[in-house]
Symmetry: C3
Subunit: 444 residues, 3 copies
């Protein structure tokens, strides 16, 4: 473990790299059997609550949420298949992927032929266990490695699933970091997957760590963190918050943020929202990064971007869900994610938050010709050198575009310079009385 | 002949492939000597009338049509050149390309040197006969293979062209398939070329077959089919129908639709008319298909897209006119076109008509979040599978974009899914009460 | 020298090619030690005045110009470094680049260690002298080849700079070619660099030659030629002409127009001004030509395009300043520029002026269908030929787009045909009564 000192002691948290802290949290979340409802979600929120002061919501079974109804709550204690020889073939205790998520209680003895109809494997990846669910159709089933199934002899098998599907509630966690304004940045990660490390222990751990890191920061925006089951969770939240979604100016859904693939951003439905432009700017400086257009398939951006809401919410991930072979299998384990990738994802989110926080629209108070920067000590006094440093270029770009119709982000887009370099230049020029804030920030 | 059964009998028309039926009709049209006026046009319309109930128009010589005047009518009976040895060098009877179209009557004996000024060849394609016309400048001339000319010995040649250029009329045919509305889709093919199979026996035969196929179809649009000589014919039609061109919502000019080249669409002058988008969508799914911008050179789209009309009329062809070596030569014969290519062209036009007919703008009646498709039996009940089938994607795209500002065609453009797949999804959703028709279809 | 006859006599100016005339003028300008003020500028204007009747302006030291103040005037007589052995190490007389431009007077004996702090070299180009300035920070310094510095032995060096930095004035020259209208085309070249041939003896000589060539031409636009020091010169001009900059419809800054690189155009700040489109059209037909977006670093376009003016002024050059190794060094000498490149630059500017002068918005007076060109002798009478000549295409394009919403330049952009070919077609059609001038030329 990288976050244990060579002498075996644990360093104080602050001295551990943020990637290692996120990884350690993901490790804690990994073993829990989560689903869209049930105690696994509650245990997960218990752990996250050690890092950030979560508000927990319990929404009773049967509650109408938009077009949906909160389902019965599912809890599982054990499940196994025992072979004709009395040997245990699969055991929920060894991997919670072995049972189809939301399987109903079952106990019986079946011949292999009948049992097979309830067993899911991946013939093309014969050594991994697939992940399957059956939330809305009552059924039971097992998932296992195809190779193991192939070795199962004919005969009668004892099957036992000790699970409850009963009235209860749907659980989700929420944390609001209050800024100076009530305009919101929504960050959302799904909490419903069992032992899949990248999808989405990585997202949950990253989001909790990001929320914690904001606690000491004064921000313009309020940041809302949502840890909720996919689809039904975001639908439940939207249903209970219809009157306040108009406050959301920016949003990101996070999943699969810990693997080795290059960062990927999927645009919001509108496609050129501020968050889309900010992510494009940040990823534009990352080698191999991908930008994808919105499509109505993926994670909870499907709900946030449904036409009745059409929120400016994009999705951030590394490996594109559904395209890497480990996706939704037992190969999406703790070896598939790494602290360095989690740290990289954290850094990217921090840069985007910096843009959201730091963007403003300056107005050049000396707009006719360039102001004499040299007189103000803002410019290399000795001319004629072959190249002007980046800082000089930032000053010149900000002055040139500070006509009240360009925010710093649009200056970054036009100049190709990093946002933060332009932000620093704008601060410097502002300090020298050369810039004022444009009357309205309407134009960005 | 592919449309003859192995036992030599002819199958009933319905059982012949449409490509073969179009080819058989082109075969019938091929031998006729057409021009911009004259009995060749009338014979062609006679044949086409066996397939579709054409209205025939005769417009007298001298009629003012826009900036033009209907010319005298040309009819030719025979033409030949006889050599010094009494041998026939060229004979109109063997190919109607041998005589410059619209040649005036001539009879005389000329030395080769003088005759040469009246002979057109293609030195770079020495074995084919070129096609030449002289509609508006009274002249006479012959076209022949360059090799044949090279072999003609010096001496005196007897030349005889038995043709009339007299007051008469310009002839064109028209067929209107009436739809529920009087908004029109104009389909136009030029009827003036003599024995050139691709240019344009193919277009004439395809259009007549398409008109026939519509007879049993209830359509929203009215479909106007025009079989008229190039330039002067469309100008005459426009001149006589100025008060009704405002009804034309879509239009296509057809020529060269039977050769082996990939399909080509040339956009209308406005460039993003519905027909331009529909053709781009259909051809976007055809390997090797070409989209070309409008230019004022080509066929009758020149007239329909003149600035005073600016109709949404594009042009569909396979080989691009003027670029393939067979163009306007005797090599554009029945071997140059094929039933399979005609069938492919027919299919493409049918798909475009389907888009024109089936496009509508749905409104999602459950626009907040996704509606629960599973409850309605519209979605695979077992989640977690790696890929969702195309049908599920169509349902999701339609629901997501059904905000009243996207027609099915714009959904197809944005999603990259086939129009008909989205149309099927929209029908299904509509049947389940999830979609209504948006108040106005103005926005597409 | 190419412009001397084989027999040693000088040919009369008119018979020399324009490239050679521009080169000869650049040769005359090259030896002069220019700066942003001083007698070098006046000598340069004296020479240019032999070609074009310049108005000369003297603006006193201390005059407030926009955010700047006209500096003291600098004049230098001599400067040298003498080594411990009494040998002259560098001498201003051998190259005016040896002294930092605007060096203050200095006389003293220094050990090499102290002297080194005042010496500028280019270690990566050890044989060339760099060009350095210190306009606004009083300082003295020398520039020399790095190899020469490396050979200087330890010891005491005698340094002498005989220069004045005193109240005087800033000098610039201006020439206005009056057209029928008072709308202006501004052409501006910086006059402040000492012996650098490409940057900008080439621009000064080209501009003076262009101004001279216009004297006999009746133009629609008035052409303002400005020969002023970079930055402070254009700022001074803008400050004194704030009330008339609204007359400027087009503008170009010229520098580095004599080297062998392909022509380069840097767009104005607005990016799609008429001058941007005209230059893009002309350079679109030049192999290897480059179009660059505006950036606020370069020459006086920085001032013209400052947000308070935002004039439609682009920049024309060949090698991109700051990117070729000769830039701002003694290698930018008369061998680096050539008459053929100067002539090519001259031709390009002439073509752009032709577009500016000849653009108009025609209206098709026979807009329904094509007018019958053949009847008017405007079209090949014999149809059916494989390709229509470019002239026919120009006629068809002009007629098709002459809807009052396309100027000739936008026709050139859409058709891909050369502007002048369309202009010729428009003239021909106009002569035949087929075109009128659209009511307003507002739309281009």
């Amino acid at each position: 473990m990288e976050h244990v000192n060579p002498d075996g002691t644990c360093p104080p948290p602050a001295s551990i790299g943020v990637g290692q802290r996120i990884y350690a949290l993901a490790e804690q979340l990994f073993p829990i059997c989560r689903s869209i409802t049930g105690d696994g979600v509650r245990q997960t929120l218990d752990i996250l609550s050690r890092h950030v002061d979560l508000e927990r919501h319990e929404v009773p079974t049967g509650t109408q949420v938009l077009d949906w109804t909160v389902p019965r709550e599912w809890n599982i204690r054990s499940a196994s298949i025992t072979g004709p020889d009395g040997q245990t073939v699969v055991d929920f205790a060894s991997s919670n992927l072995h049972v189809v998520n939301y399987s109903v209680r079952f106990k019986g003895i079946l011949p292999l032929d009948q049992l097979r109809a309830h067993i899911h494997t991946l013939p093309e990846q014969p050594q991994v266990i697939p992940y399957r669910t059956s939330y809305y159709a009552p059924a039971w089933g097992f998932c296992m490695a195809h190779d193991r199934l192939a070795r199962m002899p004919d005969g009668f098998y004892r099957v036992e699933i000790d699970a409850d599907l009963e009235d209860g509630s749907l659980t989700y966690g929420e944390y609001l970091h209050r800024g100076w304004t009530d305009r919101e940045f929504l960050l959302s990660a799904h909490i419903c997957h069992p032992s899949l490390a990248n999808d989405n222990c990585s997202g949950l751990a990253l989001l909790a760590t990001l929320a914690r890191s904001l606690r000491t920061r004064q921000t313009r925006y309020s940041y809302r963190f949502l840890f909720a089951p996919a689809t039904i969770g975001s639908i439940t939240w939207l249903s209970r918050n219809e009157d306040r979604v108009h406050l959301i100016d920016h949003g990101l859904v996070l999943s699969c943020v810990g693997d080795a693939a290059s960062p990927t951003y999927k645009r919001s439905r509108c496609g050129d929202a501020f968050i889309d432009r900010a992510m494009a700017h940040v990823l534009g400086r990352e080698a191999g990064a991908r930008l994808m257009d919105f499509s109505p398939y993926g994670y909870d951006e499907r709900q946030y971007c449904s036409p009745g809401f059409n929120l400016p919410v994009g999705m951030f991930q590394r490996g594109v869900h559904g395209t890497f072979p480990e996706y939704h299998t037992s190969a999406d384990n703790l070896d598939f994610i790494g602290p360095e990738h989690l740290e990289d994802s954290f850094r990217i989110l921090t840069e985007v938050i910096d843009i959201v926080e730091e963007d403003w629209t300056p107005l050049n108070l000396s707009p006719k010709g360039e102001p004499q920067l040299g007189r103000r000590g803002l410019y290399a006094a000795l001319g004629g050198q072959k190249s002007s440093g980046a800082t000089s270029m930032s000053l010149l770009w900000v002055l040139n575009l500070a006509d009240g119709r360009h925010s710093l982000l649009s200056m970054a887009e036009r100049s190709g310079l990093p946002f933060m370099e332009l932000a620093a230049a704008a601060r410097l020029l502002s300090d020298h009385g050369l810039l004022a804030e444009a009357a309205s920030e309407a134009v960005r």
